[in-house]
Amino acid sequence: MHFFRYVFFLFGFLGAGAGAASAEDVQVAVAANFTAPMQAIAAAFEQDTGHKARLAFGSSGKFYAQIRNGAPFQVLLSADDETPARLEREGMAVPGTRFTYAIGRLALWSAQAGAVDARGEVLKQGGYKHVAIANPKLAPYGAAAVEVMQRLGVIEAVRPKLVQGENIAQTHQFVASGNAELGFVALSQVTRDGKLTGGSAWIVPGDLHTPIRQDAVILAAGKGNAAASALMAYLKGEKAKAVIRTYGYDI
């Protein structure tokens, strides 16, 4: 009989962390590109409000499928503006709670110093084998990158050299490992406090592509949750915005 007691104890122990969120908790689905700023913001949020934000990171497409199939997320910080809008249309988000928490900026980046000039001329000059972009079908950063190349009139020349990451994080990895000499990555991935963390980059002017609006929304499961509303309000505050900007987003 002791054995069973131990087993019960073990399950109780293992299950402890998996319990449902309390009134003070909010389950947040966060777009992968926003991982680092959100961790900083969540810490400050807990300190300032006493509420706790439990974060899950992933791609917006995956979150969409999970939310439609009953995932218990209460807030979604999407990598685009389309997914929150769609969820709202389909009645799975609380109407009127949608807003843009960050605007993504694109950078043409190389892991090698001096490889990318300050105006992105390298793209026209050639002399590279691969240009990495995020899958334009899936990632707003990928769609924006294609748009930029169309505006610059290089898309046909570059197309045979394109390699696609499934998301912006993988795209960054292709470039960071040197397998692709160039790549369109999120500025937030390669800068900190307005400085490039390595390699060389051309910060793509915002007017070369439709703005990459990252929208947040309260999901149906978060309706009436005080912590959810508090988090939304916190994201709109100046303190959070300052953090977001230091990570290379506009807002």
């Binding site: 969409y64 691969h130 990495a132 696609q164 499934e166 292709f174 490992s177 040197g178 397998n179």
Partner: protein, 224 residues
């Protein structure tokens, strides 16, 4: 139903699995033979190395391959020196990844088959004037046939089902590295559930048929 992109992904997948399986027979057979015969202390470490893909997340293999085969990586430097360029984002890069990833599925059935043959037939062949290589081709290979069938089917099927490694080193290039599993992933991510269903159902049917063949034609294959 199946679009041109889907068909090209299927064709690419079959090509990748075929090339991988053939290469695995070439590479895996000597490894399995050595593992089955040796008493060297390296047996355990080598056996463990071969089995690693069974437990490692494919993304780990993919990530290391991306780094090692990249321009700064050791294999990347070697392939560049040989004038082959770097392997990620190429069909042959996927082949290298698949060979590593599916290795245990070929080596282990072969090793079991070789183990099951035992010492005696080899000794008999030697007393009948057959040299080691002769013995291998005229005695070991025929006796290990069920093992080869199992190994071939598992290696092929496992390569078809491979995803993580391809995702990491493929770059999703149509006709070159966009295989069926990646295509399905893209459809799901892009919320194109109908196309995802078609391909997924196809994969399911394919996998079932393959395993069915394995059990029908080789009922004792797992024991041999």
């Amino acid at each position: 139903m199946l679009t041109d992109t889907a068909l090209s992904a299927i064709w690419l997948t079959l090509r990748l699995a075929t090339v991988t399986t053939l290469l695995l027979f070439l590479i895996g057979t000597p490894i399995a033979w050595w593992l089955a015969r040796t008493r060297c202390w390296l047996k355990a470490p080598v056996g463990a190395m071969v089995a690693l893909p069974l437990v490692l997340p494919p993304t780990v293999i993919g990530f290391y391959l991306l780094v090692v085969m990249g321009p700064q990586g050791s294999i990347g430097q070697l392939t560049q020196a040989l004038g082959l360029g770097v392997l990620p984002f190429t069909f042959w890069g996927l082949v290298v990844g698949s060979v590593l990833y599916s290795m245990p599925f070929v080596v282990q059935p072969l090793q079991n088959a070789f183990d099951a043959i035992g010492e005696r037939p080899l000794e008999v062949a030697a007393t009948l004037r057959a040299g080691p290589l002769d013995t291998f081709f005229t005695v070991v290979l025929p006796l290990a046939r069920p093992g080869f069938i199992t190994a071939g089917i598992l290696g092929f099927a496992h390569t078809v089902g491979e995803f993580g490694v391809v995702l990491m080193i493929g770059g999703n290039i149509p006709d070159k590295t966009r295989v069926v599993s990646v295509q399905i992933y893209d459809h799901v991510e892009a919320l194109e559930y109908a196309q995802a269903h078609w391909l997924s159902a196809g994969m399911l049917a394919f996998s079932f048929v393959v395993l069915l063949l394995l059990y029908v034609f080789n009922p004792n294959g797992r024991q041999r």
